[in-house]
Amino acid sequence: MTAADFQALLPFMCVAAAAVIVMLVISFYRNQTLSAILTLAGLLVALASLPIAWSHAPRAIPPLLRVDSFALVHLALLLVGTVAVTVFSQRYLEKYRMERGEFYILLLLSALGALILAAADHFVAFFLGLELLSVSLYVMVGYIFVKEKALEAAVKYLFLAGLTSALLLFGLALIYAALGSMEFSALAAAVAGAPDGLSPFLVAGMLLVFAGAAFKLSVVPFHLWTPDIYQGAPAPVTAFLATVSKGCVVAVLLRFFAPLDPASQTGLFSALAAVAGASMIVGNLLALLQDNLKRILAYSSIAHFGYILVAFLAGGENGPAAATFYLVTYFAATLIAFGVIGYLSPTDQEADTVADYRGLFWRRPGSAALLSIAIFSLLGLPLTAGFMGKFFLVAAGAAAGLWPLLIILTVSATLGIFYYLRIIIAMYSGEGRKSEGRTADAPFAPTSATVLVLLAVLLIVIGIAPEPLLAFIQAATTLAP
């Protein structure tokens, strides 16, 4: 390892060091604010070190990681997401007077796993990152263990994630059996060397790896855990689950499948197309039946990752850029939604039914406005970032000629209007009596208010002027075939 290698790895080292420092500090002095500040400092230093790492990109850290501009863009996105989750967690955990410092250790470790996934260039790094991410998440999902739903969600997540880790490992073993190597580049070489078809071992292995990743993305048919766990987990953890733990898997999948040519791998890609189509339809249809805001967002996230898979299937030059851009818009909107839900939740129960939000605008106009912007963006209304995200997805899909999927996307996204507007209507109806909905009265902490408003401004700015961000992402996410 040279000095340049270390500089390229600075973001990872900052996050890892922050985890150890927080652990040592809470051993001697327990203070939730201090733990949160240390965590934030670690994450912000990691963000600040990204330009240093950028100056050395692209740099392979053999054999596990590859720090290139694609990885760094995703690293920045994941770190920003984790910063927002840290800020939301601070106030949320304060409501439950428990020993809370450990939460930040778990959050940092989970984020480190996500960062490793975004830069993985080797199956060992892939598995290591995924496990680091999941094992910390098991505990985070059940962290407020005095709430009964939280333990249920944690146990469900543990079993299902354990099962998918097994699937993933079996897939990796099959790929290793076929290739004799665990590097992504060996996979690319094998694909280039066999234009007329891959060995059945390799295809089965890749399908199993995709199944493992699909569980994390919660796309149909691996989506069953999503609504229960979104509902049971504390709102900031749900925000983390919905954004960071999914974004990093998209990054690793983009890199993993980049060498494949859709035209020559029809079997594999028709399986992916079926998953994408089913996710869009099932996610949007089942969201219609829900009365719980967290469950609606869970089902809609299933649909959103179906949309992202369209860009993923489109591949080529525009695919990775469109998927990354969509991730940015999805991250911002989802973080706002769960941040606001976390804030409005009283201690005894989460404020998560649609009825809780009745008349919210008349009681808490600020929260209602933030939530509305997030929902409009998730819905994809023009002038919000979500519209631009969908636009570039459709453009990428159209360039690749994925017409059946695009028709499903358009039709099923229209269904989204029904369940998203139900929330909006609930918020703006009623007269603002306190008895109308069960939400907390406490004002927003200045830190979280800043983060929420910044995210909302970001959504609008991207929605009006997407070119700079898109040009940046397009330049950065071009993956070498």
């Binding site: 652990m23 809470i26 051993s27 071992f201 201690t347």
Partner: protein, 144 residues
């Protein structure tokens, strides 16, 4: 790899299914069927069982066992390093220093959390206190 013959695998799979299925079928055919008053009781060499098997064991043993397994597993890496110490040189040494430092930090955390105290005030007691404090707080919130 793809050229390897498949039939040994099929033979093996058939054997597995035959043996496992055979054992299940035979034991259900030949096994005892009677259901008497003491059939379900555990056999303790002819002596009637006296108490329930659900004893209360100190959770302490469990915790110590877990801690031992964790540290034991981690220390295995030290052996791997010791074998290759000359090949790895100073970079390997510094890598190990970082590794041992993180282990030591974990040990400090464990010690400060009271996992190593063999006294009345165990981690379980603290957990209970926390639960009670939370319940009290809930009541306070509900009261007004």
């Amino acid at each position: 790899m793809p050229d390897a013959p498949y039939w040994p695998f099929l033979v093996y799979a058939t054997l597995v299914l035959t043996v496992a299925g055979g054992i299940l079928v035979l034991s259900s055919l030949l096994g005892p069927r009677h259901q008497e008053r003491v059939t379900g009781e555990p056999y303790e060499s002819g002596v009637p069982p006296t108490a329930t098997a659900r004893l209360r064991l100190s959770v302490k043993f469990f915790l110590i066992a877990i801690l031992f397994v964790i540290f034991d597993l981690e220390l295995v890496f030290l052996f791997a390093w010791a074998i290759a110490i000359h090949e790895l040189g100073w970079p390997g040494f510094w890598g190990m220093v970082v590794f041992v430092f993180i282990l030591a930090a974990a040990l400090v955390y464990e010690w400060r959390m009271g996992s190593l105290d063999w006294t009345e005030r165990s981690a379980q007691a603290r957990l209970r206190e926390r639960r009670e404090a939370f319940a009290k707080r809930q009541q306070e919130n509900a009261a007004p």
